[in-house]
């Protein structure tokens, strides 16, 4: 098991290396003139050339890649062409914000989705099942930005229960940075006011982001529970007169969840790459907005940086999911 985990973690390195080559090549070989754009509308060819030289963009692409790679090993993720800020500093600022949002959304999706899926399977073809089926289809189909706007109008504008946007009140200082997750930092320093305020701000965007994975998890959970409930061993357990709640929680849930777990793992990367609309609506200063702007301006370094970070999180998540699978299902052997 331990060797398996170490091997899987070590495999992340060549995967990231390969990915960095591909992303670097795509970023550099795209048509367009990002240097001319970064140099400003009135830049002379000499100024454009000097900007290119300043960023090392006048060198052959393999040399640029080598410089990038050696920099990366020293913690230098390159510099944004437009803002000239170090990408590492930007990522340190934006990644925790997005991760906090994604994790909150996933928590909502899992905590609500799994029990509802289980109940829908138990009361299969009943009113509750039909209801969740209809609502979850709607939830999957509804665009997240639209849902975000509706939530804002309802909970911020009409009811005035929750803040409209942002991560923290404008005129207050967020909790002292330890992890960059406001909620976690607030707990760590014991600032309960900050925790409350951070949760208020997190509520609507997390809800908007969670609905689609919630619906998917619910549907997956329902399907896998129904499948498990039809297994021979469940029939045997019923025949033996084992109470139904034990059958459900001890023998069904574990098997049903393990199939859903893979979907949850996949959702991590899907959500990480897809937060941009929710971040825009709710002014959530995360990597979605950061990378979109970088892509539109063909600002290579942030694009490559964000891609590598998302890939890294995805790879680590898949290792965790595999380990959890093994924990939940004794038939799975990690070798």
């Amino acid at each position: 098991m331990l060797w398996y985990v170490i091997r899987r973690l070590l495999l992340i390195i060549p995967t990231l290396l390969g990915l960095s080559v591909i992303v670097f090549a795509i970023a550099r070989l795209l048509p367009g003139d990002p240097v001319g754009l970064a140099a400003g509308p009135n830049a002379t060819p000499e100024v454009i050339a000097s900007v290119a030289a300043e960023f090392g963009l006048d060198k052959p692409i393999p040399v640029q890649y080598w410089n990038y790679l050696t920099g990366l090993l020293q913690g230098d993720w390159g510099v944004s062409l437009f803002s000239r800020r170090p990408v590492a500093a930007d990522l340190a600022e934006f990644v925790p914000a997005t991760l906090e949002l994604v994790i909150a959304a996933l928590l909502i999706a899992v905590i609500v989705g799994i029990p509802l899926g289980l109940l829908a399977a138990i009361w299969r073809d009943g009113i509750f099942d039909y209801l969740t089926r209809t609502v979850s289809l709607g939830a999957i189909a509804m665009p997240r930005f639209f849902l975000g706007l509706l939530l804002q109008l309802a909970f911020a504008m009409a009811l005035n229960w929750l803040p409209l946007s942002g991560r923290f009140p404008l005129i207050e200082f967020p909790p002292e940075r330890i992890t960059g997750f406001y909620t976690v930092d607030a707990i760590l320093i014991g600032d309960w006011h900050a925790l409350g305020v951070a949760l208020q701000h997190l509520a609507l965007p997390a809800l908007a982001l969670s609905l689609s994975p919630l619906a998917t998890i619910l549907r997956m959970m329902r399907a896998s529970t129904i499948e498990v409930l039809q297994q021979d061993y469940i029939l045997t357990e019923r025949a033996l007169g084992i109470p139904s709640w034990i059958i459900l929680f001890k023998y069904t849930l574990r098997n049903a969840v393990s199939a859903t777990l893979t979907v949850i793992g996949l959702y991590v990367s899907w959500l990480l790459g897809g937060t941009v609309l929710v971040e825009t609506i709710f002014d959530w200063p995360g990597i979605g907005l950061y990378s979109t702007q970088a892509i539109l301006g063909q600002d290579f370094m942030p694009v490559i940086g964000v891609t590598l970070v998302i890939a890294m999180i995805y790879l680590v998540t898949s290792v965790i999911v595999d380990i959890l699978q093994a924990v939940l299902n004794p038939k799975v052997r990690l070798q």
Binding site: P31, P41, S83, D90, E93, G166, P169, L170, P285
Partner: protein
């Protein structure tokens, strides 16, 4: 740390107290003005960064020698309390205000001015292009502690107008951090200015809080303690923030947002024309549009009324210059939709029968440009010409217009005047030396070049206006552009903000100094 049961209960109580918020109180309790804007300020170096959000920062934390304000824009004292121009139009002498001090308390001296101008010229970034070829390195001299002299290479009428963008930095504060990049790394995140405000906390991509400088030396001004530049990408969120009183000003509202805000209690709506032109530029060096008669035919075929209707609050342009700027000729005769005339010109061209396809490219994401492209498509049908509309990513547009062969037939472009002088638009958009740039990919006419250069060098305003009159007629005769619209700047302001005056240059780079909150 240990999580005790009491602490956990406290946390639960805090969460339970989420109930009712009074967001309006957040911003209105103190004299801190909140401005909601979609544009970030990732770099604080006044000699490097450009764009309206950095411009807002620089106008409030740094001082230029002269400022601009009002409508029409007027030059007013900045760091310089007075200035004089020699008779030959070549030497400007500025006298610094003796009260002027940097945020660290040291006096602003002529040496700081010279050092800042030399740094601008060395870096050749940001707004350096505005004085390129006009102020050479070494041409700025400190005559004494408070007097600076600029010797220009040639008379340059817009000189004072461009000086509003030359910000003076504290030489002594920057010098210890020069490193090998002229202090760029340090000034990127530090302020070394003398403006009425200084940077408080900030978080890139989220918010920037300006605070009144401790030793603010500027006379007069309003009662603001500070301001927060809140990055708010979605315009509907900006709208809701102003409606709720969470923001005092929203900078990037759409026409639909403005309509939705109409009649909201406590919100004033501002529609003002600024010097920001939109035109559809034609490729005069490659393809069928090299033919001036075809260009004229299209100029008469285009449905300008439909364009105006699609634009939202706007007015049609009359020729190449924005309405109201020096030399603008309201009587100028420009093409308006007249199909008969269009057909006449088409008949005179080499393409009398039509039957070919032209390309139009605009920066993808601009809804109005998409509408205007569709109007062009409809208009061209009348001349039996098809249109291939290509929404394109902005960097690709910039690279494609570098050569006439790769430039599209129609190039859609907004152009903002950086300074309140016709030279800005005339030089960037119609001088042949700018060919290959997105502002003027292909157009050039030696006669027009001469007029632009003459007007640049003429100091007398009336004589300049006359030259620009000629310039406008010459450009219209060449029909290089479909002169489009001046979209009105749309701002929403809470009604407790006092003394706001719209300035058509730097309209969104609000100067906070005169503003007050009730």
């Amino acid at each position: 740390m240990n999580l005790t049961r009491r602490a956990l209960l406290g946390g639960a109580a805090a969460i339970a107290a989420l109930a009712h918020l009074t967001p309006a109180a957040l911003a209105q309790g103190s004299k801190v003005m909140v401005l909601a804007s979609a544009v970030d300020i990732p770099n604080f170096d006044p000699h490097v960064a450009t764009g309206y959000a950095p411009a807002m920062l620089f106008r409030n934390v740094y001082d230029p020698l002269v400022r601009v304000s009002g409508n029409p824009p007027e030059i007013q004292p900045g760091l310089a309390s007075e200035w004089a121009l020699s008779d030959d139009g070549l030497t400007y002498t500025f006298t610094l205000d003796p009260d002027a001090v940097f945020h660290d308390g040291s006096s602003v001296t002529a040496e700081d001015v010279v050092w800042s101008i030399e740094r601008i010229l060395r870096l050749q970034r940001g707004n350096a292009w505005m004085i390129e070829g006009i102020v050479e390195p070494g041409a700025t001299r400190a005559l004494d502690e408070r007097t600076v002299e600029f010797t220009l290479t040639k008379p340059y009428a817009p000189f004072l107008q461009v000086m509003i963008w030359m910000f003076i930095v504290n030489k002594d504060a920057v010098e210890p951090h020069l490193a090998d990049d002229d202090g760029q790394a340090w000034l990127m995140s530090n302020i070394a200015g003398s403006g009425p405000f200084t940077m408080g906390r900030y978080q890139t991509g989220n918010l920037y809080q300006l605070m009144r400088a401790e030793n603010d030396w500027h006379p007069g001004g309003g009662n603001l303690d500070g301001a927060i530049w809140k990055i708010t990408r979605e315009t509907s969120t900006q709208r809701l923030m102003v409606a709720r009183g969470e923001a005092h000003m929203a900078m990037d509202l759409s026409a639909e947002d403005m309509k939705a805000l109409d009649g909201t209690d406590g919100v004033d709506l501002i529609y003002e024309t600024e010097y920001r032109t939109f035109s559809i530029k034609m490729n005069t060096q490659d393809g069928p549009l090299q033919d001036v008669n075809l260009r004229r035919a299209i100029s008469y075929a285009y449905d300008y009324d439909a364009m105006l209707a699609a634009a939202g609050p706007a007015e049609l342009m009359t020729g190449p210059l924005p309405t109201g700027i020096l030399g603008f000729d309201p009587e100028l005769e420009v093409p308006r939709r007249d199909i008969e005339k269009a057909r006449e010109y088409l008949a005179k061209s080499e393409y009398a029968e039509g039957g070919f396809t032209l390309t139009a490219r605009y920066a993808s994401g601009y809804e109005n440009m998409r509408r205007w492209a569709l109007i062009l498509l409809e208009s061209l049908k009348e001349l039996n010409i098809s249109l291939d509309i290509q929404p394109t990513a902005w960097p690709d547009i910039v690279s494609s217009v570098a050569r006439p062969e790769t430039a599209p037939d129609f190039h859609f472009i907004f152009q903002t005047a950086n300074y309140a002088d016709p030279d800005n638009i005339a030089y960037a958009a119609y001088h042949s030396s700018r060919n290959g740039t997105w502002q003027n990919p292909t157009y050039g006419n030696p006669e027009v070049d001469t007029l632009i250069e003459q007007a640049r060098g003429e100091i007398d305003a009336e004589a300049r206006a006359e030259i620009y009159g000629e310039f406008q007629r010459a450009v219209v005769a060449d029909a290089p552009d479909l002169f489009g619209v001046l979209e009105k700047r749309k701002l929403a302001l809470r009604d407790n903000v006092r003394n706001f005056v719209f300035t058509p240059v730097a309209a969104n780079a609000v100067e906070l100094l005169p503003l007050s909150l009730d």
